[in-house]
Subunit: 218 residues, 2 copies
Amino acid sequence: MSQRVTALSIIDAIVADLRRRIYQGELTQGAALTEAEVAANYDVARPTAKAAIERLVSESLLERGAHKTARVKTLGADSVRDIYFARAYLESEVVRRLARNTTVPPAAVSANAEITARTSRPATDIIEPDMMFHTALVDAMQNKRTSAMYRSLLGEVRLCMTRVQSLELLDTAQIAAEHAAILERIAAGDPEGAANVLDGHLAHARELLAAQLEAASG
Amino acid sequence: MSQRVTALSIIDAIVADLRRRIYQGELTQGAALTEAEVAANYDVARPTAKAAIERLVSESLLERGAHKTARVKTLGADSVRDIYFARAYLESEVVRRLARNTTVPPAAVSANAEITARTSRPATDIIEPDMMFHTALVDAMQNKRTSAMYRSLLGEVRLCMTRVQSLELLDTAQIAAEHAAILERIAAGDPEGAANVLDGHLAHARELLAAQLEAASG
DNA sequence: CAAGTGTACTTGTTAGACAATATTCGAGTT
DNA sequence: AACTCGAATATTGTCTAACAAGTACACTTG
């Protein structure tokens, strides 16, 4: 018995653990995950492993074609652009509407404070609070489906992050400053300005990541 | 043997047929779908039926809790509002960006022409072209993930539509006119105007549907 | 008539098996 | 020696059968 997971639903537990291993880079991009392998690893039957794999495929953390072995999704520069444009479409509308009501989400403020507090720590430490900042913005709309859609995107974002080893190029101070600028425009009741700042913020991250991946593949 | 489905993946075929039956109102809101029942209906094993049901749950056309029978999703007025607000967030940003580039999607134009051509037909006939119009707008962004997110919303929209029997209250001429106004604002390169017209269009539909559902439940 | 209990139904998970398809490796040919 | 074709192997898709566990409903009992 390699790893025993105990929870309400066995499949849920396996999904959670596989997700963790993918996020932590233990399972790198392109790694094969056969059903039998997963079943043996977690000491469950193959149908159970199959269900877990299918769930992760629907989360688009894994990919597989018919009759083919599932693999950890490989994200190219084009995929990153697709993801970040989708983020931009969603988030810019969100901040626009938040600015229209001048509602600054408290959770976003505290998440950004967390980032400024960690400027000297390892760069990977700011991934969590950075995502929390953006999630807080979207969640402030109090729209279940929008939040769900955004979370599905963030799963893939996280995948890019682990793929890009040298995250040192992230200037945490600058990120925090851009976040602050977004909140400031919202507080000022400036929808167009808030959307513009956010667009720039995401465009910056997007091209940074895309350039990294293009360099890695070529 | 009741119904034989023949396709590449058996599960896909069952999912497609169940989806069709839900959309066509054959399976009404709240209808129970046990695994054994589905398995017998399509002459497949229970695990196969189970997988099909789980796929529809992840599409949120069905809902079920642990150890409980799956049921066709019941949409209340609050859910409809959630769905339509999510649509509004996505689509208004889409038309804003389309207007910024003055790109009028040809597919949207022809879809709206289809609506005007059917003003005297039964109201249910305009559901399809109406959805095609909105889908065309989103697809014009050429962003795979945005399109996917939008399609997941449309599944639930379609569910509302079948739920609301008396669709006669839909004024097809007005719908077509509002669509035309959106396209006109895009062609005029007026992002703010396009977004406003679209917001109004969706708000109109939203409150119409919500009022219907509130009346039906109360 | 109300409350607790028990039974039937349904789902969660497992085991084992077979068919169909992918992949890989080897043999034969050019 | 390189390439192509074919066979062996691995992997997935699906099935049958079964048991455990949890829910819901009816039935008994107070």
